[in-house]
């Protein structure tokens, strides 16, 4: 990451605790760029977007952030701990939506959500022993289904649910246990624009309630919905800024009125490729 970008991120994070901190993290694979010298801070109660083309290192970053992989060198800290050595209590503080969440296709969407809730310790199916904790958990599942407009479709078998419904169920599974950090790997991939808008509305509502959201996306336009955006190219962070800052980084203080975020990123990418901007000092 450029020194300037890092400084800006620090500025944005100055008032809030860092939920995720990466410091000169390297992870390379044979024939793959992986991640090279990644540094970033994700302040709490923030929607942090990681945007970049395919193969830029987004999934590698997410895997290390979740503790599924360890850096070759450098340090990754999540919720003040090494994610690679998370215990079950720390894992309960994280929610994750993979690119293609697959559960039990023969079970209903509600049943799948109950199952995921149980994996995080919510005794939601104890209807025959209705303890206070179980009632609360069942209430939480009901709220989550309502939150994602799935209450009318909860009895539908997952195999018969639409792609959008399955995606929302994945999101429900990631947040049913009310995690402090929600990691979403391309949550709107393959989702129609209307539903995409609804999902982003829900994410912003969650952010307002105090959840930190780390999201990767290929839809550059979605950068506008993030509080902070990191642009990842060839395993390196080119720039980190809030959306308006990215516009200024691309076009200066007077960007064209009709400039979209696609234009912003194309400009930044071309500048990086030609070696004229921050990619040089990453």
């Amino acid at each position: 990451m450029s020194t300037k970008a890092m400084a800006e991120t620090r500025g944005l994070a100055a008032e809030r605790a860092a939920v995720v901190r990466a410091d000169d993290v390297w992870r390379t694979f044979a024939g793959d760029v992986g991640v090279q010298g990644l540094s970033m801070l994700v302040p709490e109660r923030t929607i942090f977007g990681l945007i970049g083309p395919s193969g830029s290192g987004k999934s590698t970053t997410v895997r290390m952030l979740l503790g599924m992989d360890a850096p070759d060198r450098g340090e990754f800290r999540v919720l003040d701990a090494d994610p690679y050595r998370f215990d079950s209590r720390q894992r309960r503080r994280v929610g994750y939506l993979p690119q293609s969440a697959a559960f039990y296709p023969e079970l209903s969407m509600r049943h799948n959500l109950h199952l995921m809730a149980s994996l995080y310790g919510l005794p939601s199916r104890s209807r025959f022993l209705p303890t206070k904790r179980a009632r609360a958990a069942r209430g939480r599942i009901r709220e989550t289904l309502e939150f994602l407009d799935l209450e009318d479709r909860q009895k539908v078998r997952l195999a018969k649910a639409s792609g959008g419904e399955q995606r929302r169920l994945g999101l429900a599974a990631a947040l049913v246990h009310q995690p402090d950090l929600l990691v979403l790997d391309e949550p709107t991939a393959g989702v129609d624009p209307l539903l995409r808008r609804r999902i982003w509305d829900r994410l912003q509502a969650l952010r307002d309630e105090g959840t930190t959201i780390f999201v990767t996306t290929q839809y550059v336009e979605e950068a506008a919905d993030c509080d902070l955006v990191a642009f990842l190219v060839d395993g390196r962070i080119v720039v980190v800024d809030h959306p308006d800052g990215l516009r200024r980084a691309a076009f200066g203080d007077t960007p064209p009125e009709d400039a979209t975020f696609d234009d912003v990123f194309v400009t930044l990418l071309e500048r990086y490729r030609s070696g004229t901007e921050g990619g040089q000092d990453a």
Partner: protein, 491 residues
């Protein structure tokens, strides 16, 4: 410390997911039953008759064998008659026109006279080991029957010859009575004349016995005095001496010898030749609680086999399904440990196995008449351990498989190995070490042996079976537990 909530969640997920597929459950229960049922009604207890041609010269032996087969009509033989040319007979075998060709020896009598066995050759072209076994057994029985028949005919001839002996015996007895009367009357001259007549008569009788076509052998076999002709000749010599001198003592000896001959002749004539050559009949009594038909025998094996296959495939596929992209990451990130996943799935498949085992047990007891287990607690414990060991094996299959196709292939290979090695089709005693260890490594082997004891023999089973199943369960689960976390690539 495993979380009961998470273990229960995995158990519930697998159970409900499977119960939502009623056709799968039905297939689990009805599938093995239908296979066994169709096998039971389609299998013939009797072996198919083998079309048979006899090749032999135009002599007595061929005629006797031909008559014998036509008279006896053995069930295992579909008789096609005789043929004199051996090459033509063997060509008929090669052309598939007959299944068996029996080649009789050219000159059996010459071999017998040389104190050698005459060899009957049986030719076949069967590939099937079971049919080969049938041919060997049937041929052995047929040769024994031919030998018996020869013996029987010898005895009949001997009995016919004893009729001649009987006539000579009556003459000798009459002449001896005359001799005794003359001796009693002190008529020495008449007595000596009578003795001179009796002595050659006894010699003739000795000759008859010696040339009696096996009469002597039969006499010995039935406890008659040894060297009877020699004793008759001694008596004749003594009577010849009597003809020259006075000797009541010699007369008494000759009378006693004649009585012995008379007794033996009566005995030989009273024997049934068929009983003499086959003095013992066979009667097999099975001391099993119920008659064991083929389907009854296989039923416990099918139950054990079904449980093993269920445990292996369900456990392996359940873990591999979790390696699908998305699910694997969700589970890796969640607080659920591998131990909780394995425990939850084991509980689910134990429950599903119990449902399937209950259904299949009810069917084999109700339809095939397999007796209820003699001890229910042992029965349930045996099935549960068989299932747990099989589930452990399924986890191991998942741990060593990269894809679900590999797991299915491995499970099929295990099933095939189980069919051959679990003792259902071939008793374990006939499998040599160290190959027999394969049998002992399969949960179905121990399940099958235990179920045979508990159901078919109605007796307690050996505790070693439980120990073996527990060892398989522990070893496979521990190894799988160690290997599975390394399987982090999505399928």
């Amino acid at each position: 410390m495993p979380s009961p909530v998470r273990v229960a969640a995995f158990a519930r997920g697998e159970t409900v997911s499977t119960l939502r597929q009623p056709r799968l459950l039905l297939l689990l229960i009805l599938g093995p039953f239908l296979v066994l049922f169709l096998f039971g009604i389609g299998y013939r207890d009797t072996l198919p008759a083998l079309s048979t041609l006899v090749v032999g010269a135009e002599d007595d032996l061929t005629a006797q064998v031909d008559a014998f087969i036509r008279d006896e009509q053995p069930a295992s033989i579909d008789y096609r008659g005789t043929e004199t040319d051996p090459e033509a007979g063997l060509q008929a075998l090669r052309d598939g026109e007959v299944d068996l060709v029996i080649v009789l020896p050219d000159n059996a009598m010459a071999a017998l006279e040389a104190s050698e066995q005459a060899v009957i050759q049986v030719h076949h072209r069967s590939l099937d080991p079971v049919t080969n076994e049938q041919i060997a057994v049937a041929s052995d029985i047929a040769v024994s029957q031919i030998n018996d028949q020869v013996l029987e005919e010898v005895l009949v001839v001997a009995q016919q010859r004893t009729a001649d002996v009987d006539a000579e015996l009556a003459t000798a007895r009459e002449q001896l009575a005359n001799l005794r009367a003359n001796v009693d009357d002190q008529d020495i001259a008449a007595a000596q004349a009578a003795a001179a007549q009796v002595a050659p008569e006894l010699d003739r009788l000795a000759d008859l016995l010696e040339s009696g076509g096996g009469v002597l052998g039969v006499v010995s076999a039935f406890g008659g005095p040894e060297d009877l002709p020699g004793r008759l000749r001694d008596a004749a010599a003594q009577l010849e001496q009597l003809a020259q001198i006075d000797g009541v003592e010699q007369l008494d000896r000759a009378t006693a010898t004649l009585e012995e001959v008379d007794q033996v002749v009566r005995q030989v004539q009273g024997i049934d030749p068929a009983v003499a050559v086959r003095p013992f009949a066979l009667e097999i009594q099975a001391e099993t609680p119920v008659a064991i038909a083929l389907d009854t025998y296989f039923a416990p094996g099918v139950l054990a086999l079904m449980l093993q296959h269920l445990g292996v495939t369900f456990a392996a596929l359940a873990l591999l399904r979790e390696r699908r992209a998305g699910t694997l990451e969700v589970l890796q990130v969640s607080p659920a440990s591998m131990g909780e996943r394995l425990a939850g799935k084991s509980l689910a498949f134990l429950l599903l196995g119990a449902i399937a085992a209950t259904g299949l047990t009810a069917l084999i007891v109700g339809v095939f008449g397999v007796p209820l287990p003699v001890h229910w607690v042992t029965f349930i414990g045996l099935l549960a351990l068989t299932l747990v060991a099989s589930i452990g094996m399924g986890f191991l299959v998942a741990a060593v498989s990269r894809t679900d196709s590999q797991a299915v292939q491995t499970a099929m290979l295990l099933l095939l190995a189980t069919i051959f090695f679990c003792g259902m089709f071939m008793p374990l005693d006939r499998i040599l070490f160290p190959i027999r260890w394969i049998s002992y490594a399969l949960p179905a082997t121990h399940g099958f042996l235990g179920l045979q004891d508990l159901m078919l023999l109605q007796q307690p089973t050996h505790p070693s079976l439980f120990v073996a199943l527990a060892v398989i369960a522990v070893v496979t689960t521990v190894v799988a537990r160690l290997l599975l976390p390394r399987r982090t690539e999505a399928i």
